[in-house]
Protein backbone atom coordinates (compact mmCIF):
# COMPACT_ATOMS: atom_id res chain seq x y z
CA UNK A 1 0.00 0.00 0.00
CA UNK A 2 2.87 2.32 0.91
CA UNK A 3 4.55 1.69 -2.44
CA UNK A 4 1.27 2.22 -4.25
CA UNK A 5 0.79 5.62 -2.59
CA UNK A 6 4.38 6.56 -3.49
CA UNK A 7 3.83 5.47 -7.08
CA UNK A 8 0.59 7.44 -7.28
CA UNK A 9 2.36 10.50 -5.89
CA UNK A 10 5.11 10.10 -8.47
CA UNK A 11 2.56 9.88 -11.30
CA UNK A 12 0.83 13.05 -10.02
CA UNK A 13 4.17 14.86 -9.78
CA UNK A 14 5.15 13.86 -13.32
CA UNK A 15 1.75 15.03 -14.61
CA UNK A 16 2.14 18.38 -12.83
CA UNK A 17 5.68 18.79 -14.18
CA UNK A 18 4.48 18.00 -17.71
CA UNK A 19 1.63 20.51 -17.40
CA UNK A 20 4.01 23.16 -16.02
CA UNK A 21 6.41 22.49 -18.89
CA UNK A 22 3.61 23.04 -21.43
CA UNK A 23 2.52 26.25 -19.70
CA UNK A 24 6.04 27.67 -19.32
CA UNK A 25 7.37 26.55 -22.70
CA UNK A 26 4.39 26.40 -25.07
CA UNK A 27 4.92 25.17 -28.62
CA UNK A 28 4.65 27.71 -31.47
CA UNK A 29 1.28 26.16 -32.39
CA UNK A 30 -0.07 26.80 -28.89
CA UNK A 31 1.24 30.38 -28.89
CA UNK A 32 -0.34 31.08 -32.28
CA UNK A 33 -3.61 29.48 -31.20
CA UNK A 34 -3.58 31.74 -28.15
CA UNK A 35 -2.90 34.81 -30.32
CA UNK A 36 -5.83 33.94 -32.58
CA UNK A 37 -8.11 33.47 -29.58
CA UNK A 38 -7.04 36.87 -28.28
CA UNK A 39 -7.62 38.45 -31.69
CA UNK A 40 -11.14 36.99 -31.90
CA UNK A 41 -11.85 38.23 -28.37
CA UNK A 42 -10.59 41.75 -29.13
CA UNK A 43 -12.37 41.91 -32.49
CA UNK A 44 -15.70 41.16 -30.79
CA UNK A 45 -17.53 44.04 -29.18
CA UNK A 46 -20.91 44.67 -27.57
CA UNK A 47 -23.57 46.96 -29.00
CA UNK A 48 -22.80 49.82 -26.63
CA UNK A 49 -19.04 50.01 -26.55
CA UNK A 50 -17.57 53.14 -25.01
CA UNK A 51 -15.03 55.23 -26.94
CA UNK A 52 -12.20 54.62 -24.47
CA UNK A 53 -12.77 50.87 -24.42
CA UNK A 54 -13.01 50.84 -28.22
CA UNK A 55 -9.66 52.61 -28.66
CA UNK A 56 -8.00 50.49 -25.95
CA UNK A 57 -9.17 47.25 -27.56
CA UNK A 58 -8.10 48.33 -31.05
CA UNK A 59 -4.71 49.34 -29.58
CA UNK A 60 -4.39 45.88 -28.00
CA UNK A 61 -5.41 44.31 -31.30
CA UNK A 62 -2.72 46.32 -33.08
CA UNK A 63 -0.09 44.77 -30.80
CA UNK A 64 -0.81 41.40 -32.41
CA UNK A 65 0.28 42.70 -35.84
CA UNK A 66 3.69 43.60 -37.23
CA UNK A 67 4.29 47.24 -38.34
CA UNK A 68 4.12 46.28 -42.02
CA UNK A 69 1.16 43.92 -41.64
CA UNK A 70 -0.90 43.52 -44.77
CA UNK A 71 -4.53 42.46 -45.12
CA UNK A 72 -6.14 41.59 -48.44
CA UNK A 73 -9.91 41.44 -48.16
CA UNK A 74 -11.78 40.15 -51.20
CA UNK A 75 -15.25 38.99 -50.24
CA UNK A 76 -18.24 38.62 -52.62
CA UNK A 77 -20.65 41.51 -52.21
CA UNK A 78 -18.06 43.79 -50.57
CA UNK A 79 -15.59 46.04 -52.37
CA UNK A 80 -12.11 44.49 -52.16
CA UNK A 81 -9.58 46.27 -49.94
CA UNK A 82 -5.88 45.98 -49.25
CA UNK A 83 -4.43 47.40 -46.05
CA UNK A 84 -0.67 47.71 -46.08
CA UNK A 85 0.26 48.98 -42.60
CA UNK A 86 -0.78 48.28 -39.02
CA UNK A 87 -2.05 51.86 -38.60
CA UNK A 88 -4.32 51.45 -41.62
CA UNK A 89 -5.71 48.24 -40.16
CA UNK A 90 -6.35 49.85 -36.79
CA UNK A 91 -8.03 52.83 -38.44
CA UNK A 92 -10.30 50.46 -40.37
CA UNK A 93 -11.06 48.53 -37.18
CA UNK A 94 -12.07 51.74 -35.35
CA UNK A 95 -14.30 52.77 -38.25
CA UNK A 96 -15.92 49.32 -38.44
CA UNK A 97 -16.61 49.34 -34.70
CA UNK A 98 -18.27 52.73 -35.05
CA UNK A 99 -20.41 51.61 -37.96
CA UNK A 100 -21.57 48.24 -36.62
CA UNK A 101 -23.95 47.69 -33.76
CA UNK A 102 -21.98 44.94 -32.02
CA UNK A 103 -20.06 41.97 -33.38
CA UNK A 104 -19.17 38.50 -32.15
CA UNK A 105 -16.19 36.87 -33.80
CA UNK A 106 -14.71 33.42 -33.42
CA UNK A 107 -12.26 31.32 -35.36
CA UNK A 108 -13.04 27.65 -35.89
CA UNK A 109 -11.40 24.68 -37.59
CA UNK A 110 -7.94 26.23 -37.31
CA UNK A 111 -5.09 24.43 -39.06
CA UNK A 112 -1.66 25.77 -38.13
CA UNK A 113 1.51 24.84 -39.99
CA UNK A 114 4.79 26.02 -38.54
CA UNK A 115 7.67 26.46 -41.00
CA UNK A 116 10.76 24.25 -40.72
CA UNK A 117 12.78 27.23 -39.43
CA UNK A 118 10.27 27.67 -36.54
CA UNK A 119 10.24 31.40 -37.37
CA UNK A 120 7.11 31.57 -39.53
CA UNK A 121 3.72 29.88 -39.60
CA UNK A 122 0.52 29.79 -41.61
CA UNK A 123 -2.90 29.43 -40.01
CA UNK A 124 -5.84 28.47 -42.22
CA UNK A 125 -9.15 28.92 -40.44
CA UNK A 126 -12.83 29.72 -40.73
CA UNK A 127 -14.04 33.06 -39.47
CA UNK A 128 -17.53 32.96 -37.99
CA UNK A 129 -18.96 36.37 -37.21
CA UNK A 130 -22.39 37.56 -36.16
CA UNK A 131 -23.33 41.22 -36.43
CA UNK A 132 -25.86 42.19 -33.75
CA UNK A 133 -29.35 42.35 -35.19
CA UNK A 134 -28.40 40.52 -38.39
CA UNK A 135 -29.99 37.16 -39.16
CA UNK A 136 -27.20 35.66 -41.26
CA UNK A 137 -23.79 34.59 -40.03
CA UNK A 138 -20.68 35.79 -41.83
CA UNK A 139 -18.57 32.77 -42.71
CA UNK A 140 -15.23 33.24 -44.44
CA UNK A 141 -12.07 31.22 -44.89
CA UNK A 142 -8.98 33.20 -43.87
CA UNK A 143 -5.27 32.59 -44.14
CA UNK A 144 -3.00 34.20 -41.55
CA UNK A 145 0.78 34.41 -41.90
CA UNK A 146 2.70 34.73 -38.64
CA UNK A 147 6.37 35.61 -38.17
CA UNK A 148 8.47 35.45 -35.06
CA UNK A 149 9.75 39.00 -34.65
CA UNK A 150 11.62 40.11 -31.51
CA UNK A 151 10.67 36.83 -29.85
CA UNK A 152 6.94 37.34 -30.42
CA UNK A 153 4.64 35.72 -32.95
CA UNK A 154 3.08 38.59 -34.93
CA UNK A 155 0.57 38.58 -37.78
CA UNK A 156 2.24 39.83 -40.95
CA UNK A 157 -0.40 38.98 -43.52
CA UNK A 158 -4.09 38.14 -43.66
CA UNK A 159 -5.98 37.21 -46.77
CA UNK A 160 -9.46 35.99 -47.54
CA UNK A 161 -9.59 32.64 -49.32
CA UNK A 162 -12.29 31.70 -51.81
CA UNK A 163 -13.35 28.21 -50.75
CA UNK A 164 -15.58 27.94 -53.81
CA UNK A 165 -13.96 28.82 -57.14
CA UNK A 166 -16.03 31.44 -59.00
Amino acid sequence: MKYFVRFLLLVVLVAIAFWAWLVLFPSPKQVIQGRLLKLAHLASFPSREGNIVRIANVEKMGNLFSDDAEAVIDVPGIESHTFTRREELMQAAIMARGALNGLKVDFVDTNIEVGPDQQSAIADLTLRAQVSGEKDLIVQELKFTFKKLNNAWLITHIETVKTLRQ
Binding site: G77, V108, N111, R128, K135, D136, T163, L164, R165
Partner: protein
Protein backbone atom coordinates in the same frame (compact mmCIF):
# COMPACT_ATOMS: atom_id res chain seq x y z
CA UNK B 1 -41.21 -10.82 -1.02
CA UNK B 2 -43.77 -11.85 1.59
CA UNK B 3 -43.11 -10.36 4.95
CA UNK B 4 -40.77 -7.64 3.60
CA UNK B 5 -41.64 -4.10 4.49
CA UNK B 6 -43.56 -2.18 1.83
CA UNK B 7 -40.75 0.40 1.38
CA UNK B 8 -38.16 -2.24 0.43
CA UNK B 9 -40.59 -3.64 -2.21
CA UNK B 10 -40.94 -0.17 -3.66
CA UNK B 11 -37.18 0.25 -3.72
CA UNK B 12 -36.84 -3.08 -5.51
CA UNK B 13 -39.25 -2.04 -8.26
CA UNK B 14 -37.60 1.36 -8.55
CA UNK B 15 -34.26 -0.40 -9.06
CA UNK B 16 -35.80 -2.77 -11.61
CA UNK B 17 -37.26 0.19 -13.49
CA UNK B 18 -33.98 2.12 -13.53
CA UNK B 19 -31.33 -0.56 -14.03
CA UNK B 20 -33.34 -3.67 -14.84
CA UNK B 21 -33.35 -7.13 -13.26
CA UNK B 22 -29.83 -7.84 -14.45
CA UNK B 23 -27.61 -4.82 -13.78
CA UNK B 24 -24.60 -6.35 -15.58
CA UNK B 25 -26.59 -6.77 -18.77
CA UNK B 26 -27.95 -3.22 -18.44
CA UNK B 27 -24.41 -1.91 -18.07
CA UNK B 28 -23.27 -3.74 -21.21
CA UNK B 29 -26.28 -2.36 -23.12
CA UNK B 30 -25.54 1.15 -21.86
CA UNK B 31 -21.88 0.96 -22.89
CA UNK B 32 -22.86 -0.38 -26.31
CA UNK B 33 -25.42 2.39 -26.75
CA UNK B 34 -22.85 5.06 -25.87
CA UNK B 35 -20.25 3.54 -28.22
CA UNK B 36 -22.69 3.14 -31.12
CA UNK B 37 -24.11 6.66 -30.65
CA UNK B 38 -20.63 8.19 -30.49
CA UNK B 39 -19.42 6.35 -33.58
CA UNK B 40 -22.59 7.08 -35.58
CA UNK B 41 -22.72 10.80 -34.78
CA UNK B 42 -18.97 11.37 -35.02
CA UNK B 43 -18.21 9.45 -38.20
CA UNK B 44 -21.44 8.69 -40.07
CA UNK B 45 -24.24 11.15 -39.40
CA UNK B 46 -22.96 14.60 -38.57
CA UNK B 47 -25.67 16.72 -36.91
CA UNK B 48 -25.96 20.20 -38.42
CA UNK B 49 -27.92 23.32 -37.56
CA UNK B 50 -28.76 25.35 -40.65
CA UNK B 51 -28.08 29.06 -40.31
CA UNK B 52 -29.11 31.63 -42.89
CA UNK B 53 -31.56 31.68 -45.75
CA UNK B 54 -29.49 30.56 -48.75
CA UNK B 55 -31.38 27.23 -49.00
CA UNK B 56 -34.86 28.71 -48.42
CA UNK B 57 -37.57 27.58 -48.93
CA UNK B 58 -36.27 23.98 -49.09
CA UNK B 59 -34.41 24.19 -45.78
CA UNK B 60 -35.29 26.79 -43.18
CA UNK B 61 -33.06 28.90 -40.97
CA UNK B 62 -32.29 27.24 -37.61
CA UNK B 63 -33.57 23.82 -38.67
CA UNK B 64 -31.69 20.68 -37.70
CA UNK B 65 -30.53 17.99 -40.11
CA UNK B 66 -27.74 15.43 -40.56
CA UNK B 67 -24.94 15.03 -43.07
CA UNK B 68 -24.54 11.43 -44.21
CA UNK B 69 -20.78 11.10 -44.56
CA UNK B 70 -20.98 7.65 -46.14
CA UNK B 71 -23.31 8.76 -48.94
CA UNK B 72 -20.53 8.91 -51.53
CA UNK B 73 -18.63 5.77 -50.67
CA UNK B 74 -20.14 3.77 -53.55
CA UNK B 75 -20.99 6.46 -56.09
CA UNK B 76 -19.98 10.05 -56.80
CA UNK B 77 -22.27 13.01 -55.94
CA UNK B 78 -25.26 13.44 -58.24
CA UNK B 79 -26.86 16.55 -59.67
CA UNK B 80 -29.60 17.78 -57.34
CA UNK B 81 -27.98 16.41 -54.17
CA UNK B 82 -27.86 18.81 -51.23
CA UNK B 83 -24.43 18.52 -49.66
CA UNK B 84 -22.29 19.90 -46.88
CA UNK B 85 -19.16 21.63 -48.18
CA UNK B 86 -16.24 21.84 -45.76
CA UNK B 87 -14.41 25.15 -45.43
CA UNK B 88 -11.39 24.38 -43.23
CA UNK B 89 -12.95 21.70 -41.09
CA UNK B 90 -16.20 20.07 -40.05
CA UNK B 91 -17.52 22.60 -37.54
CA UNK B 92 -18.75 25.14 -40.07
CA UNK B 93 -19.85 24.05 -43.53
CA UNK B 94 -21.72 25.48 -46.48
CA UNK B 95 -24.95 23.68 -47.28
CA UNK B 96 -25.61 23.86 -51.02
CA UNK B 97 -27.15 21.97 -53.91
CA UNK B 98 -25.00 20.38 -56.61
CA UNK B 99 -26.04 21.72 -60.01
CA UNK B 100 -22.92 21.07 -62.08
CA UNK B 101 -20.80 17.94 -62.49
CA UNK B 102 -17.09 17.61 -63.38
CA UNK B 103 -16.18 18.78 -66.86
CA UNK B 104 -19.43 20.74 -67.39
CA UNK B 105 -19.69 24.44 -68.16
CA UNK B 106 -22.07 26.05 -65.66
CA UNK B 107 -23.73 29.42 -66.17
CA UNK B 108 -26.91 31.19 -65.08
CA UNK B 109 -29.44 32.76 -67.38
CA UNK B 110 -32.54 34.51 -66.08
CA UNK B 111 -32.02 32.87 -62.71
CA UNK B 112 -31.83 29.32 -64.08
CA UNK B 113 -28.76 27.16 -64.19
CA UNK B 114 -27.49 26.25 -67.67
CA UNK B 115 -25.25 23.27 -68.29
CA UNK B 116 -23.13 23.61 -71.42
CA UNK B 117 -25.52 26.38 -72.45
CA UNK B 118 -28.71 24.33 -71.97
CA UNK B 119 -31.18 25.61 -69.30
CA UNK B 120 -31.99 22.97 -66.68
CA UNK B 121 -35.28 22.19 -65.02
CA UNK B 122 -35.08 23.02 -61.35
CA UNK B 123 -38.23 21.93 -59.50
CA UNK B 124 -36.77 23.05 -56.16
CA UNK B 125 -36.69 26.73 -57.21
CA UNK B 126 -39.70 28.48 -55.69
CA UNK B 127 -38.59 32.11 -55.95
CA UNK B 128 -37.97 33.84 -59.26
CA UNK B 129 -34.67 35.55 -59.92
CA UNK B 130 -32.82 37.07 -62.85
CA UNK B 131 -29.24 36.00 -62.34
CA UNK B 132 -26.95 36.35 -65.32
CA UNK B 133 -23.63 34.66 -64.61
CA UNK B 134 -21.04 33.82 -67.30
CA UNK B 135 -19.99 30.16 -67.70
CA UNK B 136 -17.30 28.48 -65.64
CA UNK B 137 -15.86 25.13 -66.73
CA UNK B 138 -15.47 22.61 -63.92
CA UNK B 139 -12.28 20.63 -63.45
CA UNK B 140 -12.29 16.83 -63.20
CA UNK B 141 -12.69 16.90 -59.39
CA UNK B 142 -15.07 19.85 -59.08
CA UNK B 143 -18.83 20.16 -58.53
CA UNK B 144 -20.76 23.40 -58.87
CA UNK B 145 -22.81 24.19 -55.78
CA UNK B 146 -25.40 26.89 -55.22
CA UNK B 147 -28.27 27.61 -52.83
CA UNK B 148 -31.96 27.31 -53.72
CA UNK B 149 -32.63 30.91 -52.75
CA UNK B 150 -31.50 33.16 -55.59
CA UNK B 151 -33.45 36.25 -54.64
CA UNK B 152 -30.33 38.17 -53.64
CA UNK B 153 -27.85 39.55 -56.22
CA UNK B 154 -25.49 36.78 -57.44
CA UNK B 155 -22.41 38.49 -55.93
CA UNK B 156 -24.02 38.29 -52.45
CA UNK B 157 -24.68 34.56 -52.74
CA UNK B 158 -21.94 32.07 -51.87
CA UNK B 159 -21.70 29.69 -54.80
CA UNK B 160 -19.05 28.15 -57.03
CA UNK B 161 -16.94 25.12 -57.75
CA UNK B 162 -16.22 22.86 -54.78
CA UNK B 163 -13.58 20.15 -54.90
CA UNK B 164 -14.74 16.62 -54.17
CA UNK B 165 -12.44 16.48 -51.13
CA UNK B 166 -14.38 19.40 -49.65
CA UNK B 167 -17.75 17.67 -49.98
CA UNK B 168 -18.44 16.21 -46.55
CA UNK B 169 -21.57 14.24 -47.40
CA UNK B 170 -25.22 14.42 -48.44
CA UNK B 171 -27.96 15.89 -46.32
CA UNK B 172 -30.05 13.10 -44.78
CA UNK B 173 -33.58 14.45 -44.60
CA UNK B 174 -35.08 16.03 -47.72
CA UNK B 175 -36.43 19.53 -47.29
CA UNK B 176 -39.75 21.04 -48.38
CA UNK B 177 -40.71 20.17 -51.92
Amino acid sequence: MQGEPQSSGLLYWLRVMVIGRKPKRTLVRLVMLVVVTTVVFAFVLRPVRITGGSMEPTYHDHSINFINRLAYLRHPPQRGDVVGVRITGDHVMYMKRIVGLPGEAVSFSDGHVCIDGVPQEEPYLKFTSHWEVPPITLRSDEYYVVGDNRTMPPQDHTRGAARLTHISGRILFPGNR
